[in-house]
């Protein structure tokens, strides 16, 4: 994946997340498109690019809530750095691995966000974080399966590996 394609995807993910996420809403649970793009971007471009991308994506996505500006940036920076680095130690072209990475990455991002947001009200944090975030992480990871299937169909080797041959 070329960096400009990734930039385009990242921008699309920010717009999708900010304005059209309700389209994908299932009983209040929404997928995290930012994490989805970061995780697969890290698979192609490495940790450094997605760390910076995570910071910038967080900055734009947080613009609707100026009070917590920087919070999403922090979360996505950590997610980008972690997932970008972790791919070097995992079998990339495996649907279960990708599912797991996406699931944990989404949870990590939500955890960082909510733990700062509700730092003085940990009981609310538990209620807000656990049920919706776990379901949201599963939803995002499920979209990862869709990406994997598409990668197999269209021959994106970095995601689907040699399983096409």
């Amino acid at each position: 994946m070329r960096p400009w394609v990734f930039a385009l995807l990242a921008y699309a993910a920010v717009v999708l997340d900010a304005e059209y996420a309700h389209v994908f809403d299932i009983r209040g649970v929404r997928p995290d498109f930012l994490v989805l793009v970061l995780v697969y971007g890290g698979l192609y471009l490495g940790a450094r690019v997605v760390t910076i991308a995570g910071f910038l994506m967080g900055l734009v996505s947080n613009s609707a809530f100026p009070e917590y500006l920087g919070l999403s940036s922090l979360g996505l920076t950590i997610v980008g750095f972690t997932t970008g680095g972790v791919w070097d130690h995992l079998v990339k072209a495996n649907v279960f691995v990708q599912f797991g990475v996406l699931f944990v990455a989404t949870l990590l991002r939500d955890f960082i966000y909510y733990v700062v947001y509700y730092r003085h009200q940990m009981d609310i944090f538990r209620n807000s974080f656990l049920p919706p975030s776990v379901l949201g992480a599963a939803y995002t990871a499920a979209l990862g399966i869709v990406v994997f299937v598409l990668a197999r169909v269209w021959g994106w080797r970095a995601i689907a590996g040699d399983s096409l041959r």
Binding site: V15, A18, E19, L59, A64, G70, S73, L74, F81
Partner: protein, 315 residues
């Protein structure tokens, strides 16, 4: 020290990017609110076009919904309008019927039975008209059939529950007529072409020089034993002088192809009919027909028609 840090950053690019981004994130979080607002507004510019697009889409969807609702309302209103038009036509028809039934008479009252037309003549206008009243309702052969506008024809065949009428358009039909203005008498007959198609009506047997002009009203004369006198047949449309007699063309008052309701004569009553009850009178007043009656004359009961001359028929 600086050189060491620079070398460390060069050799650990991922880590250095992470540290820088993390520090920037914390810095952003610690910014004073006005600066946060300004920075957020700047970042928001990247998303704002799509937000406007989304709002425009929502507005468009609203307009579309409104359009569909209006369209649905329009269809409903159109249907209601059509129903009202039908009702209006029906009211007009009933008004004509009532006007006919309560119109004044001079010497007697025609007993009539109202009947609906169930089958009309075809294109050639020479076939019979079927009506929904028969022997059971007192209809007998040879009696006049009229509409509020004028003469239609005569009953030629009667069954138990329906009857057949020979209209004035039939090739063999004819009616003794008189020019209402001048009293000149003749017979109105259909004018038929070579292929038996109906061309119109002529008033025949008028001597040359008779007092007939276009626009004269033609009514039944009462001679012949079928049609009571004074019923409107039509209007003279043209008069041409011939060597022996006048050639007078007549336009029938009744539109035979648009008939819906007719009245079949069943007899003559010389005694005045019963007075209207309060409800009938109220209805007639509402229709504006009662005021049209001559002063001092009692309105007849519904179901009785006019008779403007003595009972004698013609054909």
């Amino acid at each position: 020290m600086f050189a060491l840090l620079a070398r460390l950053f060069r050799e650990n690019r991922e880590l250095s990017a992470f540290i820088v981004c993390t520090l920037l994130s914390f810095s952003l979080m610690l910014l004073p609110p006005p600066q946060k607002d300004a920075l957020s507004a700047a970042c928001d510019l990247m998303v704002r076009p799509f937000r406007a697009m989304k709002r425009g889409g929502a507005d468009l969807a609203g307009v579309r919904r409104e359009n569909e609702a209006l369209r649905s309302l329009l269809i409903t209103r159109s249907e209601q309008l059509r129903a009202l038009d039908r009702e209006r036509a029906e009211v007009a028809r009933i008004r004509e019927v009532v006007r006919f039934l309560v119109s004044s008479s001079e010497e007697g009252y025609l007993e009539v039975v109202p009947a609906r037309v169930t089958r009309l003549p075809g294109v050639r206008l020479s076939e019979r008209i079927e009506i929904d009243k028969g022997k059971r309702d007192g209809v007998v052969t040879g009696k006049a059939v009229v509409a509020p506008e004028g003469v239609v024809g005569k009953v030629v065949s009667v069954l138990q529950e329906r009857a057949y009428v020979e209209p004035l358009s039939a090739a063999t039909a004819g009616a003794s007529a008189v020019i209402n203005r001048s009293g000149v008498m003749g017979i109105v007959r259909p004018r038929v072409g070579q292929s038996s198609e109906l061309l119109g009506w002529n008033m025949k047997y008028l001597e040359s020089g008779s007092d007939v002009v276009a626009g004269d009203e033609v009514v039944t004369s009462g001679l012949g034993g079928i049609y009571p006198p004074g019923l409107v047949i039509g209007t003279v449309t043209s008069v041409a002088e011939g060597p022996l007699e006048l050639s007078v063309r007549v336009q029938l008052a009744v539109e035979l192809h648009a008939l819906r309701q007719v009245f079949v004569e069943t007899g003559l009553r010389t005694a005045p009919p019963d007075l209207l009850d309060a409800q009938q009178e109220s209805l007639l007043r509402e229709l504006g027909l009662l005021d049209a009656l001559p002063e001092g004359e009692e309105p007849p009961v519904l179901g009785s028609g006019p008779r403007t001359g003595e009972e004698e028929g013609t054909d």
